[in-house]
């Protein structure tokens, strides 16, 4: 977003604050996004779209009560209606007595974070070219394959202001891509998957992505193996699923305050091997960087698991007040469905080790190599038990070598047990995110000593 548009965003916020009654405590976010998607299946782009949207949310703190309203109508009348809606909600709200109020200025300056203007302003033609190159390479590499995937790119900007004088602005560029190569005619069918996210679209090489996915496609029929507990090498994509779940099950401010966090009794303890190191860092160029949160607090490196020792849950203004802490810079849009989860880490970084994938496999000796999980859901939040399926490249490891593809397996396992059994951590980290880069996880592969598969499927 050019600087002139940034100042226009701040001007809209100023117009809103000019209309607010004197001494009414409030904060507001004006956000804008522009994203393109080229989704492809059966070897053709079939769902291409470009979208843009702006939205304004106002949160008032009046009479010790909070109310939030949003609009995309920026006329004087629209802003007046927004104020009235937020105040009317606050009037009937239960009291929020521990709310600390809106900060006048952050206690630290927001760091400048990397941002790619070409990614933010990507054209349909450029995005179409990336998708087409991925399809072409996949078809060249696996003859007769069925190729699917998607390329997404764009940006979000966030302007924040509050009645105590805080003013903040950040922008986030996002590119996310995936390629699936299937051989559906094989019996059972086989497939391979590769995925990557970056804040700079030019660093995602579509041909490389297809080559990576092609390398995961089994060359012979998968065999069924018995459910049970196995040593596993979890590839980075599989690890990212577990880590993002741990983010909200273990480090949500709400989970901490309400007592359901799976790590509530582990804070400050060495619960995991020292090779497990997890932090949240919106300032890192290895994440999808964002300078401030949706309340204007600057992002900063936040240790979550420090060499195996469990750190604190993250907070926003509301949960910080309820927990008697300072906000950690993890405020989300108060009006979004994520608001119900409360603050969660959104730029997760799992520290890399020094093992190559070959070394992980060799050390496993006998076990399973998992490329990716599918449909992961929480079975028991307090114990962080998850279930899900393996997908797109699951292999058996014998005598320290990958020997055969296996039919997909269902796991039902606690993330805590998995992390406690980590023996080795891979050296190559990979970055993953949802298509809009709201939550990113950068992580390597791991070798876990025990992982429970509870059933298998037919392919």
């Amino acid at each position: 977003m050019p600087a002139v548009a940034e100042s226009k965003a701040q001007a809209t916020l100023e117009r809103l604050f000019d209309l607010l009654p004197a001494r009414l405590d409030a904060d507001a976010r004006l956000t804008g996004e522009r994203f393109g998607t080229m989704r492809f299946a059966t070897g053709r782009i079939h769902q291409p779209q470009f979208e843009s949207a702006t939205g304004l949310s106002l949160r008032v703190y009046e009479g010790g009560r909070l109310g939030t309203a949003t609009t995309d109508e920026f006329t004087k009348e629209g802003l007046r209606r927004l104020i009235e809606q937020a105040r009317s909600l606050a009037r009937v709200a239960p009291p929020e007595e521990r709310f600390p109020g809106f900060p006048s200025a952050p206690d630290r300056r927001a760091r400048a974070v990397p941002f790619s203007r070409p990614t933010a302003s990507i054209t349909p033609e450029r995005l179409g070219d990336l998708a087409s190159r991925a399809i072409e390479k996949a078809n060249e590499k696996v003859k007769g394959a069925r190729v699917s995937g998607a390329f997404h790119a764009g940006s979000e900007w966030i302007a924040v202001a509050n009645s105590a004088g805080l003013r903040g602005f950040t922008q986030r560029s996002v590119a996310q891509a995936s390629v699936l190569i299937e051989r559906p005619e094989a019996d059972p069918p086989v497939s391979g998957w590769s995925e990557l996210a970056d804040w700079d679209a030019s660093r995602i090489d579509p041909e490389k992505l297809s080559l990576d996915a092609a390398g995961k496609v089994a060359r012979r029929a998968p065999e069924s193996i018995a459910a049970g507990s196995y040593r596993v090498v979890l590839g980075p994509c599989a690890v990212s699923e577990l880590i993002s779940s741990l983010g909200y099950l273990g480090f949500s401010g709400h989970g901490e305050q309400e007592g359901w966090s799976c790590l509530k009794s582990e804070r400050g303890k060495a619960a995991f091997p020292s090779s497990v190191d997890l932090r949240d860092d919106g300032t890192s160029e290895r994440s999808l960087p964002q300078g401030i949160d949706y309340e204007g607090s600057p992002k900063r490196p936040t240790p979550l698991i420090d060499s195996g020792v469990v750190g604190d849950a993250v907070t926003d203004l509301v949960t910080a007040g309820r927990l008697g802490r300072s906000p950690s810079g993890h405020g989300l849009p108060p009006e979004s469905p994520w608001g119900d989860f409360g603050p969660i880490p959104t730029q997760l970084l799992l520290g890399a080790g020094d093992a190559s994938v070959d070394e992980l496999v060799k050390e496993t000796r006998q076990g399973i190599l998992v490329n990716r999980f599918h449909y992961v859901r929480v079975v028991h939040p307090g114990r962080a038990v998850l279930t899900g399926m393996t997908r797109d490249g699951t292999y058996r490891i014998e005598k320290g070598e990958v020997v055969a593809p296996v039919c997909n397996l269902r796991f039902t396992e606690s993330i805590l047990s998995t992390l406690k059994s980590v023996e080795l951590v891979g050296k190559e980290a990979r970055r993953f995110s949802d298509e809009r880069g709201f939550v990113s996880v950068t992580c390597p592969a791991i070798l876990a000593g025990s992982f429970t598969f509870t059933s298998s499927t037919l392919f």
């Binding site: 080229m38 053709r44 470009f50 349909p124 307090g382």
Partner: protein, 482 residues
Amino acid sequence: MEELVRAGLAAAEKAGALYADVRVIAPQRYEHLAVRNGEATALTYSSRSGLGVRVRTRGSWGFATASGVEAATVRDAARLAVRVARAAEGPKAPALPVTSEPGPSNGRYQSRMKLDPFEIPREEKLALLTDAERALHVAAEVKNGHTSFQAWEEVKWFGSSEGVHYRSRIVHVGAGADATAISGGDVQRRSFPNSFGGDYGQAGFEFVRSLDLVGNAEKTGREAVALLNAPPCPASTTTIVLASDQLALQVHESVGHAVELDRILAWEAGFAGTSWVAADDIGKLTYGSPAMNIRADASEPGGLGTFGWDDEGTPARSTPIVKSGKLVGVLSSKETASRVGLSESGGTARAEGFHRAPLVRMTNVNLEAGDASMDELLEGVADGIFFSTNRSWSIDDKRLNFQFGCEVGRRILKGELGPMVRNPIYSGMTPEFWRSMDLVGDESTWHLWGLPNCGKGQPVQSAHVGHGAPVARFRNVSVRGG
């Protein structure tokens, strides 16, 4: 707004589109009130408006969206949609097939309701939630009480270059309560009337009042506490009876998604997955037992999947999907239907708001009632498990291997409901499971549930769908404690 729609269609045609449709949504309103332990977790109101233009060139679709409802905006979006389609189609793209359907079809659709939920004073809504939330706290072990109310309104103007023009106003509401009991490291939750925030319908505030959250809160709290001391669900292969709320989700995951024609055609392979069902299975495949009858009905009164026309202008339809256990139909759009030789769309192309393109989605996918009473469903079960209220759900990418966890299980002993068991899980494979359904409950056990959180597509869309389901019995199912 009609003029805006026509301006968008004209701009798309001028830019070279062979077909276009324009959806203007103004307003799209949402209210969410939620209380947890006496404090607000959500008190939000949102009002947005915007438009989406979808075009078809010779070889591709294109879709573009924007906030705001000005003529310049719709013209820009139309031109961008054509540019997007051209960037996607490539030089040798074959022509896109679509069904050719009789038209035009014009009119209005409006949700039926007695009490507009947006007109009910917020004081009344909040009082209901705070009273119910307070009543959940029946014991010290109830660490978290939570109640919520949600309402959605979408006023839509649709027009297509095929001459379909309609206007609709659809209102959905829902509410629920849940209690989380925590003790000794265990966490147990009970929800009323269902998990996922309760139950939802296309109705007014009378729907929320009818739930009687306050009157049911104490029982919900007591059950959460009781679960802490209940024995774990025993592991076995046994007879299970699924409550209507859980069976609705079973239908959703293992039938509804599996019969979406875009999944069958592998268009969702890169994200949600494909299906174990093939297009040429229609009319041939034995999906389940003869007791299984499923229909996708977009005209079911009060359903979250009920509408006048879908988002490509096809009128609401009621399509048989499974008849006496045989697969007889699928969920489809104009393009997907055409690709498998169907003469018309099933009318299930739906989009979330103005900023997403229509996809094949569920409407109200209902398992029809049988004729067994609740007593008859339990009769003859020497030792089984009754499962109620979903807690976790997962299924593979072809919709075969599934595992569901429920909030509560009850032993069935000698034909009668016995004591509670905690963390009950059942799992299976879709065809074997449905073929093992030997008895289906009658109308008295049937309920139309609303699910407001069905995720699909890239960028992901959250659809509101309905599922009517009775209570039903299944044999030889693998169960255990989680």
